[in-house]
Symmetry: C2
DNA sequence: CGGCATCCGTGACGATACTG
DNA sequence: CAGTATCGTCACGGATGCCG
């Protein structure tokens, strides 16, 4: 049990950092925004985190009301971690960090890990201003899928095919394009207009995206 | 020289945390958003930071383009640290953290430090939606002043009287009121309407505030 | 006196090994 | 699969000293 290390400042930003300022915590939140995850999944998608630190963070987050631990019903009974409503409210923090970090992202370094759902945060930002809806995204040829949506009280994005009938499907023409979007060099609207992202679908959202 | 510890993830949020995720860094940014500060001022307003960590963070921030070190012209020649434009762009990150942290701020603990300018962040949020302008705030009877403004390229807030003729002056009726505003229990508009914040001034901003 | 650098004790962290 | 145990290392916090 970590005996909470606090900045001891009567300031809400400092208090927020008391809870989520530790190393790895916000990245765990980013992972769990993709929906419930098992310990091993988290460990696999957060290269470099040690097992004890991950376990410790998950305990702290549960104690602080950011996440819960739940046993999945059989078959496949396992423990999954998921965010509480309070934890999901950290999305704007990650968005602000992500927007700021676009300026320093640069090219991918050989040592950099990549996961498809990390790309969901800039995608969500790119979809702001458009109507809500479920969007399935193919980042490259093949099966490199992500989905992004606005379901209240549930996951905001995830790997793989969308968990339902998507309102629109986006197909990127390659890593250059989604890389540029992640770096903030290209907006989603621009990418669609330039033909670097194909929009498929009949729903209102798909039409909006095509008509920017 | 810190040999940069990175998460090594191709994700702009993770990259942002590479730069500002270390302990104290974002709080130093919060301090410097109030304008140029000397080393000793920073050390005094960040109780608990050790001298070497503060010096190390300031060096890292300068190396990373977040802040610069400048020598003040005599008299009173001293070094001051100030944010670059890039560093000032972290304001939304602090705002997102502060907005989220309102929910866990609670009552002031005996061990909590307080500074008047820490209150400027929630005040800035409360002024969003109103016209821009320079606002001077008296938090309690006496000389407990803060100012908040929207001068591009300069400090966003600070202690003491406003550095110019303010467009509006706000007077809080006591610590309960600005505490409630800091905790998010009360919006600035509500506080004005309830008579807990007095608005003085003839400018458009002052009128807007009175007429919510 | 302001602005650090140095030293030291403690705790956080990262890697690996191991267990129910 | 989901962690706990162990251990070396490094970051941090506190105190002191130095140097302009």
């Amino acid at each position: 049990m970590s005996p909470r290390r606090s900045y001891d400042q009567y300031c809400s930003a400092a208090r927020a950092l008391d809870l989520v300022g530790d190393r790895w915590t916000l990245l765990i939140v980013r992972e769990l925004l993709a929906g419930p995850r098992r310990y091993t999944d988290l460990h696999a998608d957060l290269p470099g985190v040690s097992t004890d630190v991950l376990a410790s963070r998950l305990r702290d987050m549960e104690r602080d009301g950011l996440s819960t631990r739940r046993r999945l019903p059989p078959p496949g009974a396992a423990y999954v971690y998921e965010l509480t409503a309070r934890g999901r409210e950290l999305l704007p923090v990650l968005q602000a960090l992500g927007a700021w970090g676009e300026g320093v992202l640069g090219e991918r370094r050989p040592t950099d890990a990549v996961r498809a759902h990390w790309f969901a945060l800039p995608l969500l930002r790119g979809l702001e201003g458009f109507g809500a809806g479920l969007v399935e995204v193919r980042l490259e040829e093949g099966e490199f899928h992500v989905w992004v949506g606005a379901e209240e009280g549930a996951a905001l994005y995830g790997d793989g095919p969308a968990p339902g009938e998507p309102d629109a499907r986006l197909s990127f023409d390659g890593a250059d394009t989604w890389g540029a979007l992640g770096r903030g060099e290209l907006s989603l609207a621009e990418a669609v207009r330039a033909g670097r992202v194909e929009v498929v679908g009949e729903g209102g959202l798909a039409k909006e995206l095509r008509e920017v």
